[in-house]
Amino acid sequence: MPARTKARAPSAEDADMEDAAPTSAQQVAEDGEPMEEDEDNEVGEEEEAEEPQRVRILPGSTSTAASFEFLKEGHTLGNALRFIIMKNPDVEFCAYAIPHPSEEKMNLRIQTYDTTTATAALEKGLQDLEDLCDVVSEEFWTQREKFMAEKS
């Protein structure tokens, strides 16, 4: 049986809408950096601010239907991730797109059933793909050892 995602209690809290632009219009903060999710969140500043946040939720998302924007990712991750997320029985729909080839952006749409949230499904997808990589990597190495042993 394919594993299901653990449902997470959605923390439904609305904030004042300061600006609402359609998904196509990119939010740009004053310093020209793409808007970070945790912008208003002072605690969000991690000690090691090494890797800038590369995923954000696009406006208009709800807990069970969300669009994520990945920076510096492409078809390499997008297609494999899309596939693995679709394998999750809690997921109703998943698709990815690269809106424009000259922008290093990859958008991923996840719509889930009420049993889980889109974020949880994404997290599970990432984890599952990593596990799949482990399996293939291990299998390749054992087959390589076998091949080497047979040859000599």
């Binding site: 390499t76 599952d128 390749f140």
Partner: protein
């Protein structure tokens, strides 16, 4: 996580690999029971994202050869350098040093002057590798020819001189093809074209005019008059990986998978950091989640390019937008 059941709906037993040929520069294998998307990700990652080391900065002190400086610099960049255990080398951009150091670069120097009447050939073996590097093989020019010369860099006539200092850095082929660990990757599936992913051009008969793939006898040819199976998906992928020499071909595959996992790990880490992303629902959102059908642009008291038509704009229709009719939006009646 049992991928065997996860990946296939049938009796199959999870991803499997069959190596058919391997030597110092090649590995041919069949990867099966994975999805096309994963196999393609593997192909993409080993072609473009496995890090290697290559000459990136060239300082030319003397060049009296017939070749232009940049021409020689380009040739130097393309020389494969030993990239095994590349993990020990930092990316220059991530390194703590100011410009370059032994932890992120390897210096190679070249000094050649022709003093004879004959044409002198300068080879990769003439590059002298600096000692300040993480281990004693990284950055060595790859020399595989029987004479032990390596790649030809330039030819000099009498009195011509080359005096060059090169700085080799770690990089990936997405930035420049000189960092590619592979010279070619074969990727093939469905040799009988049962899935009709190809539309073969033919004069009279495609089967006789197109040469058979060498993998054609690995798979059952389609039976006579067999109906087209529109549910079929590709399942067996034939890889032919050819190394450029800087990493062994089997290590390329391992490094490629590792690189894919590194991507995923970074994203998981990033997601965990601002856990959970529900916080982001506080951010800007599209109008369907606003309560009522109030023209949302008016609230801010400013106009956006989208605000012109107010209620009648594509975005301002409240529950009347396309989103409102989906089972997810609930037209703003919920907290979302």
């Amino acid at each position: 996580m049992e991928y065997d059941t996860m990946m296939m709906d049938g009796e199959s037993i999870g991803p499997s690999v069959k190596i058919s040929a391997a030597d110092r520069t090649h590995v041919d294998f069949e990867l099966s029971s994975v999805d096309l998307s994963f196999a393609n990700s593997l192909r993409r990652v080993i072609q473009a994202e496995v890090p290697t080391i290559a000459i990136d900065l060239v300082e030319i002190e003397a060049n009296t050869s017939v070749l232009a400086d940049e021409f020689i610099a380009h040739r130097l960049g393309l020389i494969p350098l030993d990239s095994r255990e590349i993990d020990q080398l930092n990316y220059t951009r991530d390194c703590d040093c100011d410009q370059s150091c032994g932890k992120c670069t390897v210096t190679l120097t070249l000094h050649a002057k022709c003093s004879s009447d004959e044409v002198m050939k300068v080879y990769a073996r003439d590059l002298i590798v600096g000692i300040d590097r993480p281990n004693n093989h990284i950055g060595n020019p790859i020399i595989t020819d029987p004479d032990g010369q390596g790649s030809l860099i330039a030819k000099l006539r009498k009195g011509q001189e080359l005096k060059i200092t090169c700085v080799a850095k770690k990089g990936i082929a997405k930035e420049h093809a000189k960092w590619s660990p592979t010279s070619a990757v074969g990727f093939e599936y469905d040799p009988h074209n049962k899935l009709h992913h190809l539309d073969l051009w033919y004069e009279t008969d495609a089967a006789t005019e197109w040469p058979k793939s060498k993998y054609a006898d690995w798979e059952e040819p389609p039976a006579e008059g067999e109906p087209f199976d529109y549910d079929a998906v590709p399942n067996r992928f034939y890889f032919e990986v050819e190394s450029a020499g800087n990493i062994e071909p089997d290590a390329i595959i391992q490094e490629g998978i590792k690189e894919l996992q590194r991507k995923l790990a970074a994203l998981i880490h990033g997601l965990g950091e601002n856990d959970d992303m529900n916080a982001e629902y506080d951010g800007p959102r599209s109008p369907d989640v606003m309560d009522g059908g109030a023209p949302w642009q008016d609230q801010g008291g400013y106009t956006t390019p989208y605000a012109g038509a107010g209620n009648t704009s594509a975005w301002g229709g409240g529950g009347a937008t396309a989103y409102g009719t989906t089972p997810y939006g609930n037209s703003g009646s919920t907290g979302w």
